[in-house]
């Protein structure tokens, strides 16, 4: 780590957490977060800090807890212990808005009706104006939308909530190439307006162009944060190893599949 205060810091033990950094330098701080499902521990005493007005990426393998991490911040999952602070104050779930992997929509409502819901929270939000970004057919029922269109609509809704912290779970899934770039640019603009954005992804490459930091969830106690200058190191770490054994298994299974098929014939 550099001498300057990092945007997001990997803190693996309490002494570092309490001794090195000033709390009010960060907008969002998670201290000793412990989350488990039954006996399965997802996070054990994890610490992390995120600066306001920046875009932060979260990467990790399947099942490592990216969604859990975001849901805990959004208040959808209750952490067994730990503190979540925003600007030194306890994090209120109303400060966060989460875009889920599969956003919820009421059945048989139109896009315009959906966006209107967010106006009750934020009367300044004009869904129709914002829709020029994605040009969705707002008068059509949402059931007729493609997966990507649904994601765009849910994203507009999240923007409409105008949260202090925007949590995006796999936002690039099911988005086309063009929209992905548009989304990245939009996120940078939102961050420039003071919004803190956390977005998760399975793969690191799409995040490197937009994020100020990337947090790698490597294990239940192993949450590491990388600055922009350290992204090449992270990419190196996440480079997949050889899958020789698995490939050999697939070849063997395909071989037995063919011989079984031949026997049936």
């Amino acid at each position: 780590m550099t001498d300057a205060i990092p945007v997001c810091s990997p803190i693996r033990n309490k002494s570092v957490a309490s001794g090195s950094y000033t709390i009010f330098s960060y907008m969002l701080e998670l201290q000793n977060l412990h989350i488990s499902y039954g006996t399965h521990i997802v996070f054990a005493s994890v610490n992390a800090t995120f600066r306001e007005g920046a875009v932060h990426g979260i990467v990790g393998s399947n099942g490592k807890g990216k969604t859990t991490f975001l849901k805990a911040m959004a208040g959808m999952i209750t952490a067994q212990s730990g503190i979540m602070l925003i600007g030194g104050e306890p994090l209120n779930t109303r400060d966060c808005a989460l875009l889920e992997i599969e956003p919820f929509f009421y059945p048989r409502i139109t896009g315009a009706e959906y966006l209107r819901l967010f106006q009750f929270n934020n009367p300044d939000f004009t869904g129709v104006e914002w829709n020029h970004l994605f040009a969705l057919p707002l008068d059509d029922e949402i059931a007729t939308y493609s997966a990507g269109m649904k994601k765009k609509l849910a994203l507009l809704g999240i923007i409409g909530l105008k949260p202090r912290v925007m949590l995006l779970d796999e936002p690039l899934n099911s988005l086309d190439f063009d929209t992905s770039y548009l989304l990245m640019d939009t996120l940078r603009l939102l961050a420039a307006h003071g919004m803190t954005i956390l977005l998760s992804s399975h793969i690191v490459e799409p995040l490197t162009s937009v994020c100020d930091t990337i947090t790698w969830i490597a294990g239940e106690q192993d949450v590491q944060c990388f600055e922009r200058s350290e992204f090449p190191t992270l990419a190196q770490k996440l480079r997949p190893g050889g899958h020789e054994e698995q490939i050999a298994l697939v070849k063997r299974l395909l071989g037995s599949h063919r011989s079984n098929g031949g026997a049936e014939e």
Binding site: G38, T39, G75, I77, Y106, I109, R116, L117, F120, N121
Partner: protein, 357 residues
């Protein structure tokens, strides 16, 4: 009422109207027949509303309907993100759903009973929906007593595999999800077998719980991979459902019958007991027949409304509930079953034929 709450209710009513319009455009005859069956069932309910059983039946049907809907809800987190009290929304929606039951009970001999559906709605609305955080509700089973005892686990697994075949994924999934409720209901039915009225109430819940198993969506490949033709598929599914229902219903019914016979015997002589065997067997056959009808209804209702990967709980539960509502009268039940099967079987076969083609 908060403006956003009113707006959400209006959205839901609009959505319902759109569904009705779309159904009327796609399947007008089916809609007319369903409405006709509903009106007929309602008329017969009103004609017999003075009976105490009906006063219990109507709130229970309402409870079953609301419970199904509540169990499938996924909007709690969405509403929380909007800052809306989901309990208030649930309460309003379930109260609107309670209106038919309230009206029916208001015209009964005991109009005070109209408060029951509202009270039941409030109770259901105050509980968190099952879909809220499924992962949190599933603690590891490794440390529970049964799962730590390998021998017990093995015997239980063998027993269940014998009773419910492994390919009956609805039943396996459902039994795992509703394990606690089913154990309580089944044990309750056995314990209350000496009380015919209480037994019938518990049996009612035992009958409606597995309907939920058939409301889950499944992928097309799951349907296609196991079977070769629609008729073979339907036969196997009905057989699996029959075994599941028979397993749940037959033991408490037979125990209840045994209690009834013993209570009504003038003296405990062997001849008198032997004379009751035909009655006992008749009840066994009736219990198996009801199991078969229930399984058939659930299966054909499910595949008549099958949409790949989509839950169709409402369709299955409403079809089965409507048909069950006709079972209180022998002639009406024959008509109800005939109408239901004559609509559902061709629809299910047609859907499956498309899937298998």
């Amino acid at each position: 009422m908060q403006p956003i709450l009113a707006y959400i209710l209006r959205l839901r009513l609009n959505a319902f109207a759109r569904s009705l319009r779309s159904l009327a455009g796609r399947d007008p005859i089916g809609l007319v027949l369903a409405l006709g069956a509903g009106v007929a069932a309602t008329v017969f309910f009103i004609r017999n509303i003075h009976r105490l059983e009906m006063l219990i039946m109507i709130p229970m049907l309402h409870l079953a309907l609301v419970n199904f809907i509540h169990g499938m809800r996924k909007d709690a987190q969405f509403l929380a993100s909007l800052g809306v009290s989901c309990r208030a929304i649930f309460m309003w929606e379930y109260s609107i759903l309670a209106l038919p039951a309230v009206l029916l009970l208001a015209f009964s001999a005991y109009p005070q009973a109209m408060l029951l559906p509202i009270a039941l709605s409030a109770i259901i609305a105050s509980t968190p929906p099952f879909a809220w955080s499924h992962r949190r509700l599933m603690p590891s089973r490794q440390h529970t007593f049964f799962y730590s005892q390998k021998a017990i686990r093995h015997v239980l697994h063998r027993l269940f595999t014998w009773l419910v075949p492994p390919l009956a994924f609805e039943w396996w999934g459902g039994l795992r999800q509703r394990r606690l409720a089913l154990i309580i209901l089944w044990t309750g039915a056995l314990l209350l077998a000496w009380q015919p009225f209480l037994l019938s109430v518990v049996l009612f819940f035992l009958v409606i719980t597995p309907i939920e198993f058939y409301g889950m969506g499944e992928h097309r490949s799951m349907v296609q991979s196991l079977y070769r033709s629609p008729s073979q598929f339907l036969r196997l599914k009905i057989r699996q459902g029959f075994r599941g229902y028979a397993m749940l219903l037959t033991p408490p019914v037979m125990l209840g019958m045994a209690y009834y016979i013993l209570q009504n015997l003038p003296s405990a002589s062997a001849n008198l007991l032997i004379a009751q065997v035909p009655l006992f067997l008749a009840v066994l056959v009736a219990s198996l027949a009801v199991s078969f009808i229930l399984a058939s209804l659930c299966v054909v209702a499910k595949y008549a409304f099958y949409v790949e990967g989509m839950p169709f709980m409402f369709a299955v539960s409403s079809m089965v509930t409507l048909t069950l509502a006709t079972l209180w009268h022998p002639y009406i039940s024959i008509i109800g079953l005939s109408v239901s099967f004559s609509i559902l079987i061709p629809k299910a076969t047609k859907r499956l034929r498309i899937l298998f083609s």
